[in-house]
């Protein structure tokens, strides 16, 4: 049976309806509301892709910690996301996007200003037709701040106590990240200066990396990690889970970078989103391949955990400018990210900085590289401004985090005791195990 048989009937049904619509002359046409609808849709779809990155981080970290700390790592991941979600509503969103409500113009937005959504069934004239709905924008930005907090949890894994960690996450997601984020994405002083960070190589990833670095320094390495001047590797519990986590992050990154186009109402915008998808994917692939080849050449065997880190470093590298580069540009920018990982992971070990999952090389070092790499394909960016931006985020986040971690360490203590670490945080802090039928790892 062909549907075309029913077309005349459908037309008959439609005619009176269309007549009614014409009577209500006030209803806006698609030209007016189309971009709003499409951009809102972009934020919602990109938002749930980035949301899924919370799962990616959780799986990656669960796979790279030892089995006696897996349940704790998962607990931290689900808790940090939830803390971030609440803090971003309570303070973060308006602090990061102050509009006209700056406390110190260009530097600090309003505190204690909660997010308010659009009214139920909002009328077109009350909606931000040149942008998107508040709900979609809020949700899309909130999943970014959660990514920053996830970066920290991976680096400080296996020896940080749960509650001090969550207090840090609360302050990072509610205050630190929104303040520094407002400098660029909130229309603050760095964006005025011409700093360019498309989807957050610096604003999101480096910030997470700096906070993680400060945490790792205050916290110290895992018990037994560095003994008699030698590095004692602690292989991860489940590389299948770590690989799954990496692929989930890779998938989520299409939302992370694609959604950061912040518009999908025109041919140009929607094509740009697709361009970003292709470049993002290319950078991940080349980062992975760079790490694959390099570990074979340098160490004589391929190291899967480095290949996973390499893919993520490629993604972080392209995040500052995923739109302008050609596919070849994305390839070499991502590949350098992968190279950075292979060389800086052992470097951190030499400095006795114990980063369990490689969060600092991937998010901080590759983030800095990606922010510099913007100048190669984006003619509007200057190397001086990029470096000023990187330094500003670095100094602010690192110093503020260092203070926060130190205060937490002094007041309640952040490091699990040697005995608790030996037993594993799963049993010592949670009283449960991720894999209870297996022997202790």
């Amino acid at each position: 049976m062909k549907l075309t048989k029913y077309l005349p009937l459908a037309a008959l049904l439609l005619v009176p309806t269309m007549g009614l619509a014409q009577d209500e002359a006030a209803a806006p046409g698609f030209d007016e509301i189309g971009p709003y609808i499409m951009t809102t849709l972009l934020f919602m779809m990109a938002g749930f892709l980035v949301f899924f990155m919370a799962c990616g981080f959780a799986m990656l970290e669960a796979g790279l910690v030892r089995s006696k700390n897996v349940a704790m790592q998962l607990t931290k991941n689900v808790s940090l996301f939830s803390v971030a979600a609440i803090m971003y509503w309570l303070i973060g969103f308006n602090l990061m996007y102050p509009g006209d409500g700056w406390t110190i113009p260009g530097y600090v937005g309003p505190f204690f200003s909660q997010t308010v959504l659009d009214a139920v069934g909002v009328a077109p004239e009350d909606a931000a037709l040149d942008y998107a709905s508040i709900g979609s924008d809020f949700f899309f930005q909130l999943v970014f701040v959660a990514a920053t907090a996830s970066i920290v949890s991976g680096a400080v894994a296996e020896r940080i106590k749960l509650w001090p960690f969550l207090i840090f996450v609360l302050l990072l997601t509610g205050i630190l990240y929104p303040i520094s984020g407002s400098w660029q994405w909130g229309g603050g002083w760095l964006s005025e200066m011409g700093f360019s960070d498309f989807a957050g190589s610096t604003v999101v990833h480096s910030v997470g990396g700096w906070a993680a670095l400060a945490g790792v320094i205050v916290l110290g390495p895992r018990l037994g990690k560095y003994k008699d001047g030698k590095v004692n590797p602690m292989p991860g519990s489940n590389l299948a889970i770590a690989t799954l986590g990496t692929f989930i992050l890779w998938l989520g990154w299409f939302g992370f970078n694609g959604g950061s186009q912040l518009a999908m109402g025109t041919v140009g915008d929607v094509s740009d989103v697709s361009r970003i998808f292709a470049n993002t994917n290319m950078a991940a692939a080349s980062g992975a391949i760079a790490a694959l080849i390099l570990t074979q050449l340098v160490y004589g065997k391929v190291d899967l955990t480095m290949v996973l880190n390499g893919a993520l470093a490629g993604l972080v590298s392209i995040t500052a400018e995923p739109l302008a580069p050609t596919l070849f540009g994305a390839l070499w920018i991502g590949a350098i990210g992968g190279v950075i990982v292979v060389f800086t992971v052992p470097l951190l070990d030499q400095l006795k900085i114990d980063d369990v999952v490689g969060a600092i090389p991937v998010h901080l070092f590759a983030g800095i590289w990606g922010t510099i790499a913007v100048v190669f394909y984006n003619g509007d960016a200057s190397i001086v401004t990029q470096v000023i931006g990187i330094a500003a985020y670095g100094v602010f986040t690192f110093v503020a985090s260092l203070i926060l971690w130190s205060v937490l360490a002094a007041i309640i203590g952040i490091r699990a005791s040697d005995e608790d670490q030996m037993e594993g945080l799963d049993t010592s802090e949670l009283g449960m195990e991720a894999y209870p039928e297996f022997s202790k790892g």
Partner: protein, 176 residues
Amino acid sequence: MEPHALLAPPNFSSLATFCAKIVQNGPICPILHPCVSLRPTTFRALLPGVNWPGRTPAHLKGTSVKLIIAAIKPFKLEEVREALTAIGVRGMMVTEIKGFGSQSGHTEIYRGAEYAVNFVPKVKLEVVVAASMADQVVETIQKTAKTDKIGDGKIFVLDVAQAVRVRTGETDDEAL
């Protein structure tokens, strides 16, 4: 009288003591000697279900059954199992183990840091067989598990003091 007492087997304790004496002192009937092996199990098997008093005399312990422990390369396990089954071995125990011998350990690299693997994965095979079969089993394992490379493993042969089949109570080589 309680019901289960009615079902209890007749009391063979005197006969059992008699048999145990034979075992202890060696064969009393020269005619019996060439045709029947006078190990305790031979007698006990004649009277299944009997609770034999005492245990096998000390001087006979461990002479009838041997335990062969072999640590071999894990990938050889299936081949060894097939070879042993082929020569009539009816059971074995297998454990995944780690250890080191003359192969010692080796080094690996994880995330750019070299570390020593002091214990190498192996499979431990435990086979309990009649003493008469032990040499053949050892030879079979040795030939099958051999790769001519360092780390092929070790075989140890031990006397077994006693073997008991849980289901029937049969002992020593009858239990295998």
